[in-house]
């Protein structure tokens, strides 16, 4: 379903969504984050990309799984803690972040469903904002199966076509949101459709970066397990993990107990983000470490996204947001690495 929403009506529509917790990009010092808003009169014109991707809504960086305590008889008692039942609308989601959540669903929903992720995902309404102009210099979504006007993982996509948004309503959830403010939505005309299409074409021509034939990298990487590129490229890695923490698809986590009191026993079991880039991530309690060095850990990050996930799900586990390229303090660049491994073929 396609609609038109005047920019001046955005706030009125959002005003009808009072049953939801609404999140929108807000500026924190020099960067953008999704924060809860009580009203939303406009999506900011200078908005680029949030720092922490949408995954934080479905997989928070710290989440209590259950509480435990000694009951009156002295034995322990476990109390499940599920995410709050609250429907959430996030506005201004870029295509890369929405696709990130869609890819995470393959891992968290398809086999042995993760009840925490599932509940948060089911309560999440994604109102996307297409990318024209591109939000960042390091965007490369177009070469990894996405695009500046990608709709995957969204319920609604808004595209700025001047004084109004071209509105693509993509799912029943999206229809529900539109119905709540139906009086603000109009039918698009041919000119609106052409405006949207022209902007999408222009946006597609704006990319500085691409992974050349990204879909063929799995076949190349398959032969590069022992290649020296992992050592040379990881040499300057600081093991900070920012490439994975801010990745829309990285999802590794730790599970740990937080103890409030040892006697009587009282505490919480929590899950927190973790990263394959930390040395102790894979270290056995014996001290043996299957991925003992930076090169094997960089290899894991890239192989997981461009080979292992492709073997299992037939898709690349990278949405081209460019954060790992932009945020790495020492300039380790997945695009550059993957474009160079071409020449290693054979």
């Amino acid at each position: 379903m396609e609609k038109i929403l005047k920019k001046s009506d955005l706030g009125k529509w959002v005003g009808k969504l009072s049953a939801f917790d609404c999140y929108a990009p807000t500026k924190e010092n020099d960067h953008w984050e999704f924060n809860q808003v009580t009203y939303l009169d406009s999506l900011p014109e200078d908005y680029t990309q949030v720092n922490v991707p949408l995954k934080k809504v479905v997989l928070p960086n710290r989440e209590v799984l259950f509480n435990f305590e000694d009951n009156r008889n002295g034995g322990p008692h476990i109390q499940e803690v599920l995410p709050e039942e609250k429907e959430v609308v996030v506005f201004g989601v870029r295509g890369c972040d929405a696709r990130g959540v869609a890819l995470l669903s393959k891992i968290f929903s398809e086999s042995s469903p993760d009840i925490y992720f599932e509940r948060r995902k089911n309560q999440l309404y994604v109102v996307g904002l297409s990318c024209y102009p591109l939000p960042g210099d390091n965007c490369f979504c177009l070469s990894v199966g996405g695009g500046p006007f990608s709709t995957q993982g969204m319920d609604i996509l808004l595209s700025d076509i001047g004084r109004k948004y071209f509105v693509e309503v993509l799912t029943p959830k999206g229809e529900k949101l539109v119905e709540l403010g139906w009086e603000f939505f109009a039918e698009p005309n041919d000119q609106d459709r052409q405006d949207r299409l022209r902007r999408e074409k222009k946006a597609q021509e704006m990319f500085n970066l691409e992974i050349h034939e990204a879909e063929k990298k799995a076949g190349v990487l398959h032969h590069l397990f022992e290649d020296k590129i992992w050592k040379t490229e990881s040499f300057r890695c600081l093991k900070c993990g920012i490439c994975t923490y801010l990745c829309p698809t990285c999802h590794c986590f730790d599970i740990a107990d937080e103890l409030a009191s040892p006697v009587p026993l009282q505490g919480k079991r929590v899950r927190v983000w973790d990263t394959c880039q930390f040395p102790d991530f894979t270290m056995h309690s014996s001290g043996h470490n299957p991925r003992p060095d930076k090169s094997s850990r960089l290899r894991q990050r890239i192989m997981h996204k461009f080979l292992y996930f492709v073997e299992t799900y037939g898709e690349i586990m990278c949405t081209g947001c460019g954060r790992c390229v932009s945020k790495c303090p020492v300039g380790i660049d997945i695009v550059n690495i993957l474009n160079r491994v071409e020449s290693h073929e054979g």
Binding site: L65, P76, I107, D114, I115, F253, I255, T282, S296, Y308
Partner: protein
Amino acid sequence: MKDNPYLPQLARIVTIKEEVGGSRPIKSFRMQLLNGHRFDFKCGQCAMISVLGKGESMISISSSPLERDYLQFSVLKMGRVTSALHEMEQGSIVGLRGPYGNGFPLEQWTGKNLIFIGGGIGLAPIWSVLQTALRQQNDYGQLSLFYGARTSSDLVFKDELRKLKDTLPVYLSIDVEEPGWTEFVGFVPQNVADKKPSPDNAIAITCGPPIMIKFVIKTIQELGFQDNQIYTTVENKMKCGIGKCGRCNIGPHYICKDGPVYSWAKLKTLPQEY
């Protein structure tokens, strides 16, 4: 509760047996679920044991699925959780979730000779298979066991091993000479090379330290065992048990759900990150 894969069931430790003392202690814990339910599993599968307040550890189940009265875990004291478990007393309550992993394909081994080759605490996962095969001996051919440890006191299940000798060939070994030790002295692969088990109609099941597994596989390959006649288990650090947390990932596999049991034919195609 069942929908939540992270929620443990409470279990009571009904007996604790000290298998090995000294600086590398091993204890066997027998447990029962508090709700009286059975914990169904297959040989070679693991369970996540919670010591609430300390965390969780993935431990292989060393009892047979045919044993209806208890689950047994034989645990080497090593990290935070296993150390806390070693401090616990009979009657203490732990959490259990699982079972996890694929298990051994016993249904494919009917009529075959099973050769068990274990080292140290690595006897625990294959003990479950051995106990099961012993109870269904008519389904299998000849059973035999090779088992070794650093010293005679490091051997687990000492009493059971003594009794087992009446039923099947048991070839024990210790790494270095000790007064009074009449059996093989040397590493497990050397003992296997010395006894030369036949690969005819046989399956070799090996578990132990990574270095031992490596040389056991080399040794039995030299004896003529084919890759699909060799089974082992892979252990990696695990947190979730359901292929999500990323820790036990090797290539496209998650050891917690696609393993821990592998034929060498399969394992040799995966990256050596274990």
